[in-house]
Amino acid sequence: MSVELLLGDVKEGAELPVLEKEVKPVTVVLGAMASRDWRPQHHDYKFATQNNGLDDIIMNTPNLAAWFERYLTDWTGPKGRLGRIKFRMKDSVYPGDTMRFAGKVTRVEPTVEDVGWVEVAIELSAGDKSCVGCEARIALPKTAEANPWKLKGDDWKP
């Protein structure tokens, strides 16, 4: 990955590149195990369908959070430092769905320092379903030399 997004590259209203991923059973199960989520609706088809009334096993929220983080840092590069993220769950993501991440820059915060803040709204959908709404606040360098990861204490304003 060689992307290195600078604050000056970002304009309010700009759209992030769309990411699409097909969800397989292993996508759901691997994500649940990686996030230490042992609840059966994420790996047991019979439990999910017969006990919970779902259509299939479902993606778990912590793993979806990691997908949102991946979507954001694909755009910013490794210097993009996440400050805040907010989710609103609306519908489930199942095997057979194609997840579609689409984002838009909602705010670019003016700054005199060498690191600035950008706010992004992201929608995760699958076909006609709107599955998760997400708002994120992420720090970007203003220059090639600046590094948001170096900010500590009161200088870090997530």
Binding site: M1, K21, T27, L30, G31, M33, A34, S35, R36, D37, W38, T61, P62, N63, A65, A66, W67, F68, E69, R70, T73, D74, P78, K79, R81, L82, G83, R84, I85, K86, F87, R88, M89, N147, W149, K152, W156, P158
Partner: protein, 180 residues
Amino acid sequence: MAAQSADDLPEEVQSWIGQERYSEKTEFPIEMGYVLTTLSATQNGNPLYWDEKVAKALTDGPITLPTMVSVWFRPHDWSPGRTEPAVALQLHFDLKDRLGLPEAVMSDNTIVFREPIRPGDELTTTQILYSVSSLKTTKLGTGRFWDFEVRFVNQRGELCAEERYTGFGYNRDASRRESK
């Protein structure tokens, strides 16, 4: 800001509001195995996590994915001597129990990230209840909204993250009776 709490809460629940409770340590030191599995699960090629040189240059060594903060507090599915299944977010389950609201969903979840979490860190969490609403009826049933936060602190006392939840505990049977 926390919402105003209802004035018809059981005294015990009322006494929890604003108190840091359930101080809990991670069951194992933070490690990179789960980080690499998460990167694999999400097909995330961010070199900050795959390339030691990039990690050294940007973050003075390896860090974990910020969004994994809650992963470190999910209990093992089984461990010796445990007689009851362990649950994350004990406060949420205690509220369901004390308020007689057996079903619950989380409607909103906000995480604020501060000091990065590194392999070898040992974290402590506390849970703080901010508010519990009066009885409300939604399409799920009749119940109460509650607003609480989990704070994550490392072994140096640095705040690593704050995770804010809004939960809705409800009773499906009560709502069916009311809707008839």
